[in-house]
Symmetry: C3
């Protein structure tokens, strides 16, 4: 059975692997967070690329070590490109992370997320509680991209979704929850300021892509990404209590964080 | 008659209301400023959402407390989506702010701004002097998104536009000017560094949306937004004289600013 | 014959000219870097504008002092708009800079970059070694937007491309290399942190546009932009060793850098 200390050691090892291998993470993501996503991946040690043209997504996926799909500012041509990239990724076993931003807020978002689940079979779906509830068929109650539902309320939905899709669901909030339908991990690292800057959820999904590129256990990869981002949030918050400076320091922390810091500070509960 | 001290008290009350209610501000805006707009709204206490797909804009407007339209990087499909969102907003009395970025610089921008004025009947139009002059039919002389005309030159155009549209025009520059065709307010808060970072005008428009979501008096809402942004510019400039750090500190200030700071520092002239 | 000290004096003079004239730099660039590009141009003293609609690109080019084309997140409608803008720029002698992001990574990028070379006859092409090798017909070996080839390997390709196109090729990396096919300049300013933030190459291209707007010698303009950006990287790195803060300080440095600092710190080799 996997223990918390196993997870922490694997996280530390994966962090080192990212910095040695600089995996190429192909993002088809939203306009709001493209810059911070690319900078977060670079700070961590990965190599980001953004490409969405139907003429090139298959070829770009062929170079990538992971594909991250994010529907934050979706439109029909972008969702089509994501689906095309996802099919190419499946053919070559390039792992996919799906961030269903705003699922439940509009029918179009819920349906687009479900389409990408069907066509891409993502290894990890990472969302806030409202999004995960919506994808599991619940009313969700998403209000825009707010997380108005609690992580607790979304746990059963996450377990059910993970069972149905035979893969990993990560729910983020004050406490994060990651499950593959059997194993679960709760992560208590993090800081409220992560909710005061745009894109911290999107960054969590992108970092999950980087970890998935170096560790094929999707449950571990999602957990590792959330430990690292949560811990970096704590480090950034130790230097400021304001959101502008926090966003800058968060990137600094993604660069500075070490395996030993992970070992000393991870607050996780595995079952 | 409204006095400066009435305006200041209403501004302080609206700021508190934003932080209590976290109004959802739906932005259809330009690629350059999406990130800073979202972060500025979050720092202030509002909830931003960005969505432009024709498949969902009406449904998203149905969740929103205000709609902000910004033509900074317009294209035909985006302007169509803005018009569709605007019509939906009118049907349900969701207030609209229009930022006519670059009106006067190209015919396409002027015409698109006018189309959105007709179809959306925005409660507030916020622009620089050149843009306001152009919308009022003048030559404008906009050079890209520069404000080469002065606020003084644009005052009559603003009064005339406000009369014609029966609503509020806000002209920003070294001194801001807000009018509903009857009441006027000049705001002397602010700092030249606001003109050295991209998107400060767009942020002014987005913040106006947040204030309009909690105070139905559009003249007051636009004035309140410009007092708050101007004062935050002063606070940020007290900590740095360089634009990179200024942009970060401006977000910090939007989070830190208090009703009492507004009361102590607003520099406005009402008539 | 041009000496290093000639180049440095011309760079200092061009920097002063940018701050006096605020040339309008029209960018059709990628979503990831639009914000940082606009902020970098503003910090330097130039006026950025972003516009890509086919309805307006010709008119906007008519206002611009330089046009910067960047294919980082290309799609067919954007490449068409870039080509339309490029043709308009040629007709009126508005100088063009091309940033062929990811050329060599996918066929679509290589072909799009070549199309823009043919239709726009850019005065400067600025890329990393892989991109320049790919445009010169080599295999390139681009891995996404990584610069896996060395500047040394790309020098011959740059000379050959410059000869063929009768204009300037700038290759950036740990040491930058600029040639017009006859004159060459190697620039040793810079810092590894420039490679740890997204968009530093794109910023180099945009700054080249600003310098080209005030100095018609394209070889000089590209060299000047790379000296200034490299030196600003050094200044930013003197204040932090982390990428988030570095990105902020880089903008500060673009605002702060003076002609005298250029004279005291440029590390260039002209032949």
């Amino acid at each position: 059975m996997t223990t918390a200390s196993d997870v922490i050691e694997r996280t530390a090892a994966a962090l080192t692997a990212i910095r040695e291998r600089h995996p190429l993470v192909h993002n088809i993501t939203n306009y709001v967070v493209m810059n911070v996503t690319a900078n977060a991946l670079l700070a961590l040690g990965a190599s980001p690329v953004m490409a969405h043209a139907p003429e090139e997504v298959e070829e770009m996926v062929g170079l990538a070590d992971a594909l991250v799909l994010n529907i934050g500012t979706l439109s029909s041509s972008w969702v089509d490109a994501m689906a095309k990239a996802a099919r190419a990724a499946r053919r070559r076993d390039c792992p996919i992370v799906l961030d269903p931003v705003g699922a439940g807020a509009t029918r179009y978002r819920t349906e687009s997320a479900r389409r990408l689940m069907r066509e891409g079979r993502p290894r990890v779906i990472r969302g806030n509680p409202s999004e995960i509830l919506a994808l599991n068929g619940g009313a969700g109650g998403t209000r825009g991209v707010d997380a108005t539902a609690t992580v607790e309320a979304a746990r059963d939905a996450a377990m059910s979704l993970a069972h149905e899709w035979l893969d990993v669901v990560a729910v983020t909030g004050p406490e994060d929850f990651v499950t593959d339908g059997t194993r679960t991990c709760r992560i208590r690292n993090g800081h409220p300021l992560l909710g005061r800057i745009t894109g911290s959820g999107c960054v969590a999904s992108a970092l999950t892509g980087a970890f998935l590129a170096v560790d094929n256990d999707a449950w571990l990869a999602a957990t590792a990404a959330l430990i690292v981002l949560g811990r970096c949030g704590e480090r950034a918050a130790a230097e400021t209590d304001r959101p502008g400076t926090f966003g800058v320091r968060l990137l600094d922390a993604l660069d500075a964080i070490s395996p030993d810091d992970i070992r000393a500070s991870a607050k996780i509960f595995v079952s």
